[in-house]
Symmetry: C2
Amino acid sequence: MYTVFEAIQAVLQQVPVPQKEQVSLLQALHRVLVEDVFVPEESPAFPKALMDGFAVSVTTGLVHAGQLSEDSEPLRLRVVETIVAGQVPHREPNQNEAVRIMTGAPVPPNCGCVVPVEHVEFHEQDPEWVVIHRNQLVLGANILATGAIAHVGDPLMKAGTQLQPSHVGALAEFGISSVSVSKRPRVAVLATGNELVHFSRQPGAGCIRNSNQPMLAAQIQTANAIPQLLGIAKDSAESLKAGISAGLRADVLLLTGGVSAGILDLVPQQLEMAGVTQIFHGVLMKPGKPLWFGIRKDRGHVCLVFGLPGNPVSSLACFELFVRPALRRLSGLPGESVFHATLTEPFQVWGHRPVYQPVVLSQKCGTMLARPVPWSNSSDLKATVNANGMALLEPEHGPYGAGECVTVWPWN
Amino acid sequence: MYTVFEAIQAVLQQVPVPQKEQVSLLQALHRVLVEDVFVPEESPAFPKALMDGFAVSVTTGLVHAGQLSEDSEPLRLRVVETIVAGQVPHREPNQNEAVRIMTGAPVPPNCGCVVPVEHVEFHEQDPEWVVIHRNQLVLGANILATGAIAHVGDPLMKAGTQLQPSHVGALAEFGISSVSVSKRPRVAVLATGNELVHFSRQPGAGCIRNSNQPMLAAQIQTANAIPQLLGIAKDSAESLKAGISAGLRADVLLLTGGVSAGILDLVPQQLEMAGVTQIFHGVLMKPGKPLWFGIRKDRGHVCLVFGLPGNPVSSLACFELFVRPALRRLSGLPGESVFHATLTEPFQVWGHRPVYQPVVLSQKCGTMLARPVPWSNSSDLKATVNANGMALLEPEHGPYGAGECVTVWPWN
């Protein structure tokens, strides 16, 4: 039987390359670039004032940064124009002139610095004149030169970048109003089991509500994929066949239940009859042992098929361990993202299977902490409402002590 | 001038209590409960088999866990019924009988344990009989008793819980198909500045694209709020007045630009004319110093108004520091969420203002690390595409060394 890590690798090996589509920048949040993006133009496109102040010509006698001017006499300059952001300068000041300029406005081409307004003295009678001490005249001060931020052709973002708000801002700044991203995977969910009723119904005797389907729909959404809920199939060949046939049109099909060794566990057999090739059945873990995984290729369309155990905590854990990495890779991201945390209390693993234990993850002074949450068994979804992740705890390790470092999977 | 922490508190003090609405469970992901939720029914509703196996009557001579049976002779029991999940038992086995049962199926009322199928011997000639060793007959084994997971009235989730997939699953399990949650805040965004053009356009001389609006729209979405983009206002009283008047109908109005001391910085004046009361103007920080914050109450409707600086990195930082906590509290969550990380390299703060420095946050063996990203100034959005958070670095501290712990704000 595969270990969890072998099973994850076996899943990732089957993931096809992402499909791509062009989306508008306003729809691009959290999408993943499939192509490198390069800077299309000089930034800034013009020399720009970084402060409100006065732009002064290079002919006025500027000094280099760190230098002191030899002449200590203050300069008296005539203000010949005012430029605000969005305007263009109409003239270049000569050595006895200055241009009043606002932050973000274009600096006249012959100017060498902007002296901030707070370092300038005004003539009380005549606002058309300003007095500036020569030591303020530092070449390049408070001007952002053309291309100082970026040049045409500079790399801006790499393929595989998942777009966060700052990426959206930078793309907008460069006028890149649509981007080539991976398609969001469509994930069909088919619950199976005669005992299941829709979660809004009162179950009859011996029946339970289908909690896996809304939970998986939420998990799929957090993976930036699109859930397609196919309802509940009965434990019969006909019912399963119809549901599986509909589900195989998606990029990923998740079934819940019907994968153990019970007399009504018909899912593996029906999947194989539908042309799905089994990659593995069963993983050395608790919960989640009966997990089934296979793939179906049909005229270029690939569907990854997961038979998740029916117990809610098993289904939750198997999604996080196996389905989420598959969806990440299907979206052009690295498959796995491994985290570690420090156990806050001792833990004893019972049995011979590695345990994926619900934990509360928190952060204290930069260190991730994991506190195991008591849970009775894999149908105890109530216990997991207090958890926000799970930790891998291995039987060969022996008893765990508080302070030990363990591998964790955050759920959010 | 307020410090950042004083300013955050001043913002949070103005946030009104969340408004509530009822939403379907399938729409409830990431929404925040405004009422405590209690368990509405016993869980499980019937005694449930935890394994595939054979249910045996309490009259058959069960032992308590840890006890050994006095009688070593194996029992021979007649299989009188098979129960699969979704069925109800039709009879109670007597002391010489057993019931074949599947995981999740209801256990007959008089049964005291389920013996797993792998611990049972079958009679080769007669599948109607099973042989069970007495030490397998442990009272309560592999049965989940009625109410063992939860009783009616037990607390299930507290008000203030942000619903993750496991919460959705647990609510579905208990048939809670809609929940009372806080309304998603509506956040209007009005960019201001004569120099701005829509991000899909080629800017004319001296003009730049409006990158703040799509970036803020993305930030608003990551805060589970609803962006309302109001376009670009000119630096004129008429244009600002129209935009502000439309924006004040939202729960939060964000303006960008026009809050410095330049001659066209008309935003504070126009906001006050529109009935917005200023709470503060200016915060001791870099970038973001010109931030303006006020509130307008109009016949029960409250609008929080932020005048964000126009430079993209300032706008980004001010959103994360001030707007996000306000949106969290407006959604019923705690306002602030403080994290820490370890600096990977030395850092020197220039000037007298605390710096909110773009950093790359990563995790190594359970420890959060922060690596400062070089950036030239607050219009350098290109530098921030490599960052995923920011760190607070204070001038009074003196030079920072690698390994020091700093306060950080993750951007995702």
